[in-house]
Subunit: 360 residues, 2 copies
């Protein structure tokens, strides 16, 4: 493959001039510039990004480590992250942790070895396997969706408490009194927060959340199925189940279908994370939608700000309830308040973090 030296030779100039011409340096004569450009075209020269990165100490690459690519929510997130990064002139390398801490670790290490300019992580594990590297502060880090309490880095996430309150109001209005929830891993913030918000909303309506109505899941379909089976085996099964992510909701649907039961007649189902398929399930699933595209964009912008020495913003955007039929027919009277939920735009200024201070 042609190198910069070949171009220099072909254009009859030095490598320095070639480099300058290619990087838009001011002091290059028009003559030299055109000769270089011609030679480049002639030889089909493409600069070696590896060599360039070594010299400049920047790869113009972002790392994105997500918990599970097969989860449509994260797929969508990844897609928008790449899109925004591309418009900002960065590539992104995706690492799929598959909800396994050691895999997440593997990817973080690999990405760091490649000297990516910044890291976007949605931690599979709340404990601190990546902390040693991240906390070292050498590489800018931003957390998306999930975060880890001790880490002093910007966080971009959705706040589901409002939407969950709306959901509980909706369920209560429909007459449900025995409601169950399938939790995510306690090691993740999203796993804990969603259950807590749900429990709090329940309390506001005077509803209990007995232990046997709290299923433990791991954000995968199978765990949703198992939890739901256990609910159905109860002497007094719940009237409705809230799965705290879309895959566990899929599992729940599986379980009730396997029993020959029907949603919502025999048992209602609701989910956190809305996805296109929920419109076409039997029945369409009532879900809480996150503003994924905005989250992705905000996360990338925060990370790039960090990288390029600007102060980053932590951002929290509200999720919103989307009522469909899996919890029973929506009210036929006046449209409930939840239907008019505002488009998510709220943001919050982050308190200064050590990462910001690094750049002052």
């Amino acid at each position: 493959m042609a190198g910069i030296k070949d171009v220099a030779a072909a254009a009859g100039v030095s490598v320095a001039t070639v480099s300058r011409a290619l990087n838009g340096h001011p002091s290059v004569s028009p003559t030299a510039r055109t000769r270089v450009l011609d030679a480049v075209r002639e030889l089909g020269y493409r600069p070696n990004a590896v060599a360039r990165s070594l010299r400049t100490d920047q790869t113009r690459t972002l790392g994105l480590v997500i918990s599970d690519v097969m989860n449509p929510y994260f797929t969508e997130l990844a897609r928008f992250v790449e899109e925004e990064a591309r418009t900002l002139g960065y590539s992104v390398i995706i690492g799929n942790a598959d909800e396994r801490p050691e895999l997440q670790d593997h990817h973080v290490r690999t990405l760091l070895d490649r000297r990516i300019d910044g890291l976007l992580v949605s931690p599979a594990d709340g404990r601190s396997p990546l902390a040693p590297d991240a906390a070292s502060g050498a590489t800018p880090v931003v957390l998306v969706d999930r975060w880890v309490p001790g880490l002093d880095v910007p966080v971009v996430r959705a706040d589901g408490t409002g939407a969950i309150r709306d959901l509980v109001a909706h369920l209560h209005g429909l007459g449900y009194r025995r409601v169950a929830v399938i939790a995510g891993p306690a090691a993740t913030t999203t796993g804990r927060e969603r259950v807590e918000a749900f429990r709090a909303a329940l309390r506001d309506h005077g509803l209990p959340l007995p232990d046997e109505y709290l299923g433990q899941g791991d954000f995968q379909a199978d765990s949703g199925r198992r939890a739901t089976e256990r609910f159905l085996d109860l002497p007094e099964p719940p009237e409705v189940v809230f799965a705290t992510d879309n895959l566990m909701a899929l599992g729940a649907l599986d379980a009730v279908r396997a029993r020959g039961l029907r949603v919502p007649d025999d048992i209602g189902v609701a989910a956190f994370d809305d996805i296109p398929w929920f419109v076409h399930t039997d029945p369409p699933v009532t879900a809480i939608a996150q503003p994924v595209a905005e989250l992705a964009r905000a996360a990338v912008r925060a990370l790039v700000d960090l990288i390029e020495g600007r102060p980053p913003q932590s951002v929290t955007l509200p999720a919103r309830l989307v009522v469909r039929r899996s919890c029973g027919e929506p009210a036929c009277g006046p449209v409930p308040a939840v239907e008019r939920a505002p488009v998510a735009v709220a943001t919050a200024e982050a308190p200064p973090t050590s990462q910001q201070r690094r750049n002052e």
Copy 2:
């Protein structure tokens, strides 16, 4: 960040010895080795992959350019590709072409600039935008799922003709006579082949495929919706629609639901590419399943063979029909032959390609 020189200094040896110790070179004394290892641990040293790549001219990285990440089929493919690559000691960088040739081009160029060791492509466009680079032969290339006729590189794909024949037999057996198909872009091989196989199978059963029953789509949900609407507007609409990918099937479902019609009572739906959600749609969708994991593994192995100088194998695996309820109740009598479809394992030896010859 600590470099190899720091390690050498700390261990009291030269950089050459450090490098040798770390790469398991034979002639390094046990003493030196342990001192190096200690220093490495002490300093938390990690070799700079960028520098290493520059010197060794290999990145141990594969590029994967897919047509559309949001399509569950490709998501799954990407996931298994990464998995197999990882076990073989490679990382993978995914580029999402979004079915847009110019984006595909952008990613191919970027990946080539980063000197990836090999490229896995599922071409969004049958024409040859990537040919100039790929044909240059500098970087090993393997095509997955879709291929482009002129290119002399290994291809790993599923053969749907058998499954499509089974599907048509199934539909015919159910009494359908007016069947329509939603095609993919003519620029892709999968777009053309699936329609052709369908048309041929129809002919075998003496069924026609009139022009107005041939919808043009682009593998995205919207196009499936529009094509289906056009079918429904026909004076004599088809009794069943075969969408040649899962997203267009989703669109078709959308369209019939929007009309207040019911599947399969008013119109049947079948799809190419099976996905987990099809079990939970209303109704569950009869689909043709590709052996995605095997395809991914075969593709990675072929590419790595090429990279490491072994002769690669082109592979074609059969797809199989999965009957559900979206075309009407499956026969209640004896289980139809299609239910017993064998697990896909057939492979074929590729004719020698120029890429193989390269390595002789």
